[in-house]
Amino acid sequence: MSKQPLKDLAQVVRSKNAGPFEITFDMIFPDQPTYERVKTSNVITKETIANLYQIHLEDIVELVYFDQAYAINFRLNELFPQERLENEIPMVHSSTLHFSNL
């Protein structure tokens, strides 16, 4: 199967803080065939995410496929640990998910 950018497949690609200590990422696909195609391609894995964000596998708390919503969600624990001021985390919206080729 040929490579296709995530932005051509997903309808929603976003990130947001979930409480002060976590950041959660959603990719939501427009229909079941597109979602199933991404899901069965097995491209979005913890390894992919770790590579994209240059983090360790254990920094990814969870990666969940939510079939009813045609959605993939993952969350990371620490928001820029070395950059952040103690644990003061500003609200983060939408702009931090890599649109890389799948």
Binding site: Q11, V12, K16, N17, A18, G19, P20, F21, E22, T24, D26, I28, P30, L52, Y53, Q54, I55, V61, E62, V64, F66, Q68, A69, Y70, A71, N73, R75, N77, E78, F80, Q82, E83, L85, E86, N87, E88, I89, P90, M91, S95, T96, H98, S100
Partner: protein, 456 residues
């Protein structure tokens, strides 16, 4: 068939909403109006300083039509996390605004104010009893963290609201509250299905964000029935689609379909969304699993110093090429000059917008930009020291020499005079933990208040 209709006029009190949306919503004969007024999204500062995320002006402007509508239609208005942080003084701030409205409109308002401040002594006892657990990746709670905390609230569940609804008041002004509670309260009061009640609360708490186009500056109406619920945006220019509602189910959640809250977990793994009509989505299968131990989430903050910020631009390609080396030199110079930096008593941070200002170390792509916006941030035990360090760092960065330098008149383009901004006191979350309680009401006290004109 029993049906309870809840009107959620906006995602956040003070964000504004179209008045025609409110009118459409009221024409559907809602049984309650619910609105969220708070969040921790803005960081620990609001709780620490006792301020809000929206102005008093905007809060009053948004509240007034809701108060008048609730009174006219004789339905309760439920406000949660009053004043942003939901601390006691922010509940009082909201009550004061309601008092002004009651007087201006010459109406009588009965209020149930529910307070959510938590005493450190109470928490210390619970901590000693081993009843405190970290939420997610929050650090383990320590005695020091409790002692350093200057403001502490608990996120109440639905139980205090059920007590307030028994009182039959016009308005409930809740302190810090689990977001879905304001919407879920009346359906749960009328013994509607708990799974559906909590899920409709999750969707409506953000106003029309679950619609498309989505926004927190507009609202939705939810209709909960025996075995399903319907959600529809108030404004004809928006609609709910399976996609928009399903997407919202994931919004700002730690886990997409297991949503823990006070008293239990909302399990959406069996939930189904279907299109009821062009603008309405039907939801079924939401399940609430009560937990064996009732837990309250606590939010506490401690002061961590004073901040000063500088914004400067650079355009010199030689400078940009050597940015990292230059900043390292600046940091060393500042640390030499200020022992407080050397000892980590004060902290100096740099951000580079145009390079990796948004993503920080998570940034993977790199290319040399045309311009870079540099933000210097200093946090120190005193404002004056933070100001001094920031000004000194600016002077070093302005005139520092580097390989191939030709711009000898100064390295920075400063957009503002004065270049530094004293940003005031800084806080951090010291407590983000759950505590096991025997009684869901034990932390929260209610006060009945009558405002405005007395009935003859």
């Amino acid at each position: 068939m029993k049906e309870i209709r809840i009107l959620s006029p906006q995602g956040m009190l003070g964000y504004g909403y179209p008045i025609e949306s409110l009118e459409y919503g009221l024409a559907q004969h809602p049984h309650a109006i619910s609105v969220d007024a708070g969040s921790t999204d803005g960081g620990p500062h609001r709780l620490g300083m006792g301020v809000g995320g929206v102005s008093r002006y905007a809060t009053k402007k948004d509240l007034k039509p809701l108060v008048i509508a609730a009174k006219k239609h004789n339905i309760p208005l439920l406000i949660g996390s009053a004043g942003g942080s939901g601390a006691n003084l922010r509940v009082q701030w909201t009550v004061d605004i309601l008092k002004e409205i009651a007087e201006e409109e010459n109406i009588e308002l009965t209020i149930a104010a529910i307070y959510a401040d938590v005493s450190k002594e109470w928490l210390m006892t619970k901590w000693e009893q081993g009843k405190v657990t970290s939420v997610g990746s929050a650090p383990l709670l320590t005695e020091q963290a409790i002692q350093d905390t200057t403001a502490l609230v608990g996120q109440m569940g639905v139980e205090p609201y059920l007590e307030a609804l028994k009182e039959g008041v016009d308005i409930i002004v809740g302190g810090r509250t689990y977001d879905p509670v304001m919407t879920a309260a009346l359906p749960l009061f009328h013994r509607m299905d708990p799974g559906l009640s909590w899920h409709i609360g999750k969707i409506l708490e953000c106003g029309a964000i679950a619609a498309t186009p989505g926004t927190a500056k507009d609202g939705m109406i939810g209709m909960i029935r025996d075995d399903h619920f319907l959600v529809r945006p108030l404004h004809p220019s928006r609609k709910c689609t399976i996609q928009s509602v399903a997407a919202h189910t994931l919004y700002e959640k730690s886990h997409p379909y297991l949503l823990p809250g006070p008293g239990g977990i909302l399990d959406l793994s069996q939930c189904k969304f279907s299109q009821e009509d062009e603008r309405t989505v039907r939801v079924t299968g939401s399940q609430f699993i009560p937990s064996s131990q009732y837990e309250i989430k606590l939010e506490g903050v401690r002061p961590s110093g004073y901040r000063t910020v500088l914004v400067a631009g650079v355009r010199d390609p030689f400078f940009i090429h050597q940015l990292e080396t230059i900043i390292e030199k600046v940091k060393m110079d500042v640390a030499d000059y200020f022992p407080e930096i050397e000892s980590s008593e004060a902290k100096l941070y740099f951000k580079y917008y145009g390079l990796n200002g948004v993503m920080g170390p998570w940034e993977k792509t790199s290319s040399e930009p045309l311009e870079v916006g540099i933000v210097i941030e200093v946090v120190a035990p005193k404002q004056e020291l933070a100001d001094s360090i920031c000004a000194y760092a600016r002077s070093v960065l302005m005139h520092i020499d580097y390989e191939g330098r030709v711009s000898t008149a100064g390295n920075l383009a400063l957009p503002f005079a004065p270049p530094e901004f004293s940003a005031g006191q800084v806080f951090e979350f010291s407590i983000y933990h759950t505590v096991a309680v025997d009684d869901p009401l034990e932390l929260f006290t209610m006060k009945r208040i009558t405002l405005g004109r007395r009935k003859p």
